[in-house]
């Protein structure tokens, strides 16, 4: 009985760890989409940049926590700069419709992905966790990697920060108002351009940080960018666009489905993920917490 409990508990905790990583991707995608209707297809590539930054600064396992802090700092700077850059690049296309903006980010994603594989090669780079988190702790009688628990703590902390920023701060209120009715916010004298750039920078920075955080769990390899982008999109669709709570809920659901699926039905794991999405869409076309108005 305890063995069954132990197995399931480990899988569930794994799912939570994967879920908080997905949240770092999805929340940026969701906010950028919500506030400016831009589908940022370069989001996964920026996650991968973060993962390779972790590989660069902490890949040899000798650097300890310091390497991760440096990588995290670099990811913050690189992510924010890349996000601001993407905001600047997509703005001239705003009048031409959403497809052009999505295509631009798709081009950027291809370029970044290819440059990364040119620099780091095509092999899977596994990044060891910092030394003091390299061991395992006992969880319902099982050994569980302590780094994953640290990921959960760090991810939940990020989620709380994002929630407070978006749902409880003045800037967050402006962001939510822009999601709801951008022309009205502009009419009230708020520079939505700067707001949009800030949200873009913040969202991409989160994806980049997620890459650093996730590197010891998922590694870093060409193709990971696509995988996390797709899962992030599924999370966003599932949770509802432009909603922090929706992104969190969706990430938790997909985290569980993906990890449970891989452990129970490895052949059908991705079908379970997309099946879940299809079911939710059939029942609630705008996502769990989404509003139908953003569908168009």
């Amino acid at each position: 009985m305890t063995a069954v409990l132990g197995d399931n508990l480990v899988t569930i905790v794994d799912g939570v760890a994967f879920g908080v990583l997905l949240f770092t991707i999805a929340v940026g995608l969701s906010l950028v989409f919500g506030i400016m209707d831009v589908l940022n297809l370069a989001h996964g590539a920026l996650y991968l940049v973060g993962a390779y930054l972790a590989d660069q600064f902490a890949g040899d396992g000798q650097a300890g926590i310091g390497g991760f802090l440096v990588a995290g700092l670099a990811a913050t700077v690189v992510g924010a700069a890349a996000g601001a850059g993407l905001a600047v690049m997509t703005r001239p296309l705003a009048r031409r419709g959403h497809l052009d903006q999505a295509l631009l980010t798709l081009g950027v994603a291809l370029i970044v992905g290819d440059l990364l594989s040119a620099r780091f090669g095509n092999d899977v780079q596994s990044v060891p966790p910092p030394r003091f988190l390299a061991g395992s702790v006992s969880l319902a009688g099982r050994d569980y990697p302590s780094y994953r628990l640290a990921v959960i703590v760090a991810g939940l902390l990020l989620a709380v920060i994002v929630y407070l920023l978006v749902e409880r701060s003045r800037v967050g209120a402006l962001v939510r108002a822009t999601v709801a009715d951008a022309p009205m916010v502009r009419a009230m004298g708020v520079d939505t351009g700067r707001l949009v750039m800030a949200v873009f920078a913040f969202g991409v920075m989160l994806a980049c940080l997620g890459g650093v955080l996730g590197a010891p769990v998922l590694g870093a390899y060409p193709g990971l960018d696509e995988r996390v982008l797709i899962l992030g999109l599924v999370v966003v669709v599932l949770g509802g666009l432009g909603s922090v709570g929706g992104a969190f809920l969706g990430a938790m659901v997909i985290g569980q489905v993906e990890v449970l699926g891989v452990s129970l039905l490895p052949q059908y794991a991705s079908f379970l993920v997309f099946g879940t999405m299809a079911l939710v869409l059939l029942a609630r076309p705008a996502g769990i917490l989404g509003r139908a108005g953003k569908l168009g």
Binding site: F33, V38, L93, L103, L104, I111, D114, S270, G296
Partner: protein, 328 residues
């Protein structure tokens, strides 16, 4: 003028195998097969207003259908083509029921997800698809039952050209029909079409299936030349390339999409090996350049023609990002 140009282009395409080496004929076969995928996507995205990032899925399903038929059932190419067309349409019919209820960026996301799941399926379903290794050793096509296998690149090219012309003509007919006009109406203002009494779901669903059929046919023609198919043939990059072909060709212009397909395939397959195999990098740069420099694609970038004062090269972009209302 237009007819003369089209006739000259067709004549040139028809005599190509007599003029060039078999390598060039093979490459043009690839361009034509890919162009059919792009034509279908243009009907869907440019005329139907449904930009899909998952057209590699029906393309790949068609390719695998043709490959499996060739290996296990028949080498008769037209039969493979028909089956692949039906398979592409069937896949689109199955997923489109849900997908076409969404619009714009949301549709883009969902088609991307579907493309990914089909890619995953090709990767995992080893008993049928050969897994990551793909299906190799596909026998050469025959044109009629019991006929000799086609091994000459030029003859194969003629078959591909004929098939693409037939399917392309069908797509042009669709785009010029009353159905095509309904589609443009739905693209430009779905609410108004609805209030005029049209059921907008059905035309969107139909064009999604037609685009899937064209993609499936393109997949069969692709395999007829390559005689190999792997999960890479239905990867995200193929979907992205198809959309790029439509964008640089000019959305809503079918001949533009065919031209765009030629450019994309040539850049990807001919130029990038010379640049050290950095295909995605080149593709990404072309994407960024096309978005900024060719907002209306080839078809919308007109030279100033004295007899048609209505055309203004580099004129102001249309509001709401809608372009390319010309039929072909």
């Amino acid at each position: 003028m237009r007819r003369v140009a089209a006739g000259a282009a067709l004549g040139l395409l028809a005599v190509v195998p007599l003029l060039v080496s078999s390598n060039v004929a093979d490459m043009l076969s690839r361009v034509l097969a890919f162009a059919l995928l792009a034509l279908g996507l243009d009907l869907l995205a440019g005329i139907g207003g449904l930009p899909s990032l998952g057209q590699a899925a029906p393309f790949g399903v068609g390719a695998y259908t043709a490959a499996l038929l060739a290996k296990h059932a028949t080498t008769v190419a037209p039969l493979q083509l028909l089956a692949a067309t039906a398979a592409g349409a069937a896949l689109s019919a199955a997923v489109g029921w849900l997908l076409v209820r969404s619009r714009g960026t949301y549709f883009l996301m969902l088609t991307l997800a579907v493309g990914e799941i089909v890619h995953e399926l090709a990767d995992r379903w080893e008993g049928v698809t050969g897994g990551t290794n793909g299906l190799a050793g596909i026998p050469a096509i025959t044109l009629v039952p019991g006929g000799a296998p086609v091994r000459l690149a030029g003859v194969r090219y003629w078959y591909v050209l004929a098939a693409v012309l037939v399917c392309g003509a069908a797509l042009v007919t669709v785009s010029r029909s009353a159905f095509g006009r309904t589609l443009r109406g739905v693209r430009d203002n779905e609410e108004r079409m609805r209030s005029l009494g049209y059921r907008t779901f059905l035309p969107k669903y139909a064009v999604f299936c037609i685009a899937g059929a064209a993609a499936g046919a393109g997949g069969a023609l692709w395999v007829a030349r390559a005689r190999f198919v792997s999960p890479a043939d239905l990867g995200f990059e193929v979907s992205a390339m198809a959309l790029l072909a439509v964008v640089i060709g000019g959305r809503g212009s079918l001949w533009g999409a065919a031209l765009g397909a030629a450019v994309v395939v040539l850049v990807r397959e001919e130029l990038s090996p010379q640049l050290g195999g950095r295909g995605p990098l080149v593709l990404g740069l072309v994407f960024v350049a096309a978005v900024y420099l060719l907002p209306r694609g080839f078809a919308g970038t007109r030279l100033r023609w004295p007899s048609s004062p209505g055309d203004h090269p580099g004129g102001p972009p249309d509001p709401a990002g809608r372009r390319g209302t010309a039929a072909t």
